[in-house]
């Protein structure tokens, strides 16, 4: 069959304006952010966000693109951190010559190496056995961190000084802003590379393995290999994130390989939205906001986080990315106006739930932790008496009423939403028919 003759359509590649715009915007945001938020706290947070974006995107190669639920991905970012910080110490001791800007790659290679090692075992399985093995491996490395203090630094961790040797072109990586831009460059390149992966044969077959591993075996692919390769790629990028973390914090403690860190990757990748490529980027931003700001705001932040997670799993399993995309679709068909009253209702009821619920949570925390300071606490500008019946009754009543209202508005919203979707389907059919 002569293909060139049998295909009447000829190829030309349109200049993809949309894609250039999106990536240009991403680069712009990365570049300009520290100029807008100039405080040292915000620069620290922006640096952490850059690192988190790489880590969550790497994690999502497994979760969203490969359907692999890993409970131990901090192992690869964490070991990347340790290898990177040891390398940095070697460099500053003069035993090794390597620019600081390349140290994250050492972390990446470490992540790749350990992913190749452990992934060989875990990716032999899929589904629940895979999840269990990653959990086991995570615990294994965590316990190793206590057994090998020379490498993991024991309780104090390993510290370093990222300023090594004379500055190159004025860059010493001493000031946070210089580290931020190093992170931003890595973040951009890694994001682009991971996006590119989704456009390759391996990336597509990874989706196929997620959807239907059985069928993949019958079209010539070894599902284990697909999973294994994806696991190693994910491990590499997690390691790069770990290496950047080592430079950023100048200290690495055993908690970077711990279950809490692994859990955070899972939780925030899910919250951001595993089904869309950009979901984990949102997740990583939330991860830093929660870890730095929310934890500053309230001692009960983990509890709130848990509640938000629960809520999202139940009502928006596609995460924030899916919420955004679904509403954009509605907006594109000019039907967002039909929904705004329902959204207003949901937001009002949600706010009521939040105020009522958090008032009670804060009172409990106050009684448990700050008993010595007396029963009074300031909550959202109001003074509550944690021993008083009226405060509890008021908060409880607000919570219950708004819970009821929320359920009612949710049903109404669901009805309107379904109707809108139906209208959109009809509209699509009509356009197709034209």
């Amino acid at each position: 069959m002569s293909r060139s003759l049998s295909t009447p359509h000829y190829h030309f590649k349109p200049y993809n304006v949309g894609r250039w715009l999106v990536w240009g915007l991403f680069a712009l945001v990365l570049g300009v952010s520290p100029l807008i938020w100039t405080s040292s706290l915000s620069q620290t947070m922006l640096s952490q966000m850059g690192i988190g974006i790489i880590a969550c995107l790497a994690y999502n190669v497994l979760l969203g693109q490969g359907g692999m639920l890993s409970f131990g991905h901090a192992v690869y970012s964490g070991l990347g951190s340790f290898l990177a910080i040891h390398t940095l110490n070697q460099v500053s001791a003069g035993q090794l010559s390597l620019p600081v800007s390349l140290v994250p790659l050492v972390g990446g290679l470490a992540g790749l190496f350990f992913a190749a090692l452990f992934g060989y075992v875990s990716t032999k399985k899929a589904g629940t056995p895979f999840a269990m093995i990653t959990l086991g491996l995570g615990e294994l490395i965590w316990s190793m961190s206590l057994m090998l203090p020379e490498f993991f630094g024991g309780e104090g961790g390993i510290s370093t000084n990222r300023v090594v040797g004379p500055p190159v072109m004025g860059i010493s990586f001493g000031p946070q802003i210089q580290v931020y831009y190093l992170i931003a460059i890595y973040c951009f390149v890694c994001t682009a590379a991971l996006f590119a992966l989704t456009r390759t044969p391996l990336g597509r077959m990874l989706n196929a393995v997620r959807d239907n591993p059985e069928r993949v075996e019958f079209i010539g692919y070894d599902t284990q290999w697909v999973r294994y390769l994806a696991f190693m790629i994910s491990g590499f990028f997690a390691g790069v994130a770990g290496g950047l973390g080592a430079i950023n914090f100048e200290i690495v403690t055993a908690e970077v390989v711990g279950a809490a860190r692994s859990g955070a990757y899972l939780l925030f990748t899910f919250l951001g939205g595993a089904t869309f490529f950009f979901g984990p980027i949102i997740g990583a931003v939330l991860m830093v906001l929660a870890g730095v700001l929310l934890s500053e705001l309230t001692k009960a932040w983990l509890l709130y986080l848990g509640l938000i997670f629960l809520f999202m799993v139940m009502y928006a399993p596609g995460g924030f990315a899916a919420l955004i995309m679904m509403n954009l679709r509605v907006a594109a068909f000019g039907k967002l106006r039909q929904l705004w009253t329902a959204y207003l209702g949901l937001a009002g009821a949600g706010l009521g739930m939040l105020v009522g619920g958090s008032a009670m949570i804060e009172m409990v925390y106050h009684l448990q932790l700050n008993e010595a300071l007396g029963p009074q606490l300031v909550f959202m500008g109001a003074t509550l008496n944690a021993h008083g019946v009226d405060a509890w009754l008021g908060a409880g009543l607000l919570l219950l009423v708004s819970l009821g209202l929320f359920e009612l508005t949710r049903r109404e919203f669901k009805r309107q939403w379904d109707q809108t979707q139906e209208e959109i389907e009809k509209e699509i059919k009509r356009r197709e028919a034209l």
Partner: protein, 263 residues
């Protein structure tokens, strides 16, 4: 290794045991290249199990399976597929969250040599993309190109199922009840489609609908209790006394009635 065999697919005394019960009891079958074979038999005769053994889903307990003269029994499904055998499933087995086009493209990648490549963009694989578009046209799915596989109608899903099966260009195709659950008119159209896309290939189908069997097959293999009791042209099988006794007398009539009933 071995010289080219005169058979595309050969089953020699194939047996399969699940626990104590033997489902396939010494099945023999020799299919020549280009033949279209329908496997018929009463429920529980082991038709689907036989397909699972040939395609590598299960390994036979004993016996030999040869593809173009080379043994494939005990190999993994993907190894068998790479040697040129492809199968479809009774219940559509698609990549549900990928588009119709992506489903077909996935089925093309290995056979067109792109394997586990992560250094090349799918969009640049012009041979693959052109072939995928051609296949979509052939399957009458070109209008549904960008629909997710999970949103297809039943008949469309069945067509895509066949498309994934034949995309890789395997020379031996196994179709497990390709027209199950389709209406009479759909079935008729579908047989036409199967004939078209399996042109020049060796074809084995499991089929209940006798109309399909006689419309599609050059030869019929009758499987009863895990044994091939007859393997011949439709006319000869009809006339075969052993088949009459074991199967056709009662079951065929029953199946014909059922076929007419469901239609």
């Amino acid at each position: 290794m071995s010289q080219p065999s005169e058979f595309a697919l050969e089953l020699l005394d194939v047996r399969k045991r699940f626990g104590k019960s033997e489902i396939i009891r010494g099945a023999q079958l020799q299919v020549r290249p280009g033949e279209r074979v329908a496997i018929i038999g009463p429920n529980g005769a082991g038709k689907s199990t036989l397909f699972n053994l040939i395609s590598g889903r299960f390994a036979p307990s004993s016996g030999e399976i040869r593809l173009q003269g080379q043994r494939i029994d005990g190999l993994k499904p993907y190894e068998i597929n790479r040697r040129g055998l492809s199968r479809s499933f009774q219940v559509s087995n698609l990549f549900t969250r990928l588009s119709v086009f992506e489903n077909i493209r996935c089925a093309l990648l290995w056979s067109m040599g792109h394997r586990y490549a992560f250094w090349r963009f799918l969009a640049d694989l012009e041979d693959v993309n052109e072939r995928a578009e051609q296949l979509l046209e052939m399957l009458h799915l070109d209008k549904r190109r960008d629909v997710l596989a999970m949103n297809l109608t039943y008949a469309e899903a069945r067509a895509l199922e066949i498309g994934i099966t034949i995309a890789g260009g395997s020379s031996v195709i196994l179709l497990d009840e390709p027209t199950a659950g389709m209406s009479k008119s759909e079935t008729k159209r579908f047989i036409q489609l199967i004939r078209q896309v399996t042109e020049g290939k060796t074809l084995l189908t499991v089929e209940h609908d006798m109309g399909v069997v006689f419309g599609l097959a050059d030869k019929i293999a009758v499987l009863v209790y895990g044994e091939v009791i007859a393997f011949d042209t439709p006319e000869a099988v009809r006339a075969n006394a052993r088949v009459q006794e074991a199967y056709l007398g009662s079951v065929l009539a029953e199946q014909q009635a059922a076929g007419a009933h469901t239609a």
